[in-house]
Amino acid sequence: MTEPSQLSQLNGALIWQGFRHLAPISLFVIVFGAAFGLAAVQLGLTEANVLAMSGLVFAGASQFAALDLWGDRIPLFTVMITVFAINARHLLMGATLYPWLRETSIGKRYALMVLASDANWALAMQHFHQKKPGFGMLVGGGLALWTAWMIGTGLGIYFGNAISDPKAYGLDMAMGCFLLALVVGGEKNVRIVTIWGVAAVASILAYLYLPENSHVIVGALAGGLVGLLPGGDDRDR
């Protein structure tokens, strides 16, 4: 078995590998960055505001949600609670990467998380489970997604929406299909499928009946609880 310390390595070649791995899916991110840039300038944010928000926050769904609350006077706590709820999934990502993060220095482990988002986290986890170094995927993939998000935001600000109706071309499904491909392409056994089923049902119930934006956390925690049931194996880290 490969030691976590070996899997936790990171160098330029691994970052480049991660960048190339997520470059294709990042092209679709440009489309949504453009939609965000356009929506934001139409609401009256300055170009510098919009670019800074995309560059510093780098979490699309929460940025769109903030625009919904935008105005001459903006409710600070409501924005922060909304952003926290939508981005709370990052807490799960940091926790699930911890077995490999703890092999790195304290400064490095927090630096590695700065660009964490759905796609590059999922790809990093997939690599770790296949006993391959994953942090190149997290950092390099994150750089690809961030670059695309910034290019898209800029296009939206200066040229309007790159594609008038991305939904008509199915482009809104690119990220969902990518994440699903990672789920379906992973390991499958009775235990995993049970965990998926519980997570799916719990997230749907939370989506329907619990406060907005709670479904990812509720579904993931419910799936995690299934992991405590007897059965399955403990050898895999």
Binding site: N49, A52, L56, V57, S62, D72, I74, L76, T78, I81, V83, F84, A85, N87, A88, R89, H90, L92, M93, A95, T96, L97, L101, R102, V114, D118, M125, K167, G170, D172, M173, A174, G176, C177, F178, L179, L180, A181, L182, V183, V184, G185, W196, A199, A200, S203, Y207, P211, E212, N213, S214, V216, I217, G219, G223, G224, G227, L228, D234, D236
Partner: protein, 114 residues
């Protein structure tokens, strides 16, 4: 789980500060998001990793994407649902992600065309 239980509706927050500086809001969003990216790592560094915690985290990592996707499939239009179905089928058959993603996008576009 306190964070979602405490605030049933974001609009009902009673103590509120109205801010007119966009830069202040952007800074607050940046700090909040960074706290989510770092918070899970920090929590794990103070929790002793027992076998139970390890099993919980492992099962949770398998659940995150499903929890993102399930409501998307439920509330999406037929274009979205059939796109996800097409991706799943193609990935199961060819064992590669990119053809599956391409199939999903194509199906969504086709369904919405008609």
């Amino acid at each position: 789980m306190v964070w979602w239980a405490c605030c049933p509706e974001v609009t009902t927050v009673t103590v509120e500060i109205m801010i007119s500086s966009p830069w202040f809001i952007i800074a607050a969003m940046t700090v909040t998001t960074l706290a989510t990216r770092w918070g899970g790592v920090f929590l794990m560094s103070v929790v002793p990793i027992s076998n139970r915690v390890h099993r919980f985290i492992q099962a949770m990592s398998a659940s995150v994407l499903v929890a993102i996707l399930a409501p998307l499939a439920l509330t999406g239009d037929w274009g979205a649902r059939l796109a996800l179905l097409a991706t799943a089928i193609v990935v199961l058959i060819v064992k590669k992600p990119l053809p599956g993603i391409a199939a999903g996008i194509a199906v969504a576009a086709l369904v919405r065309w008609f």
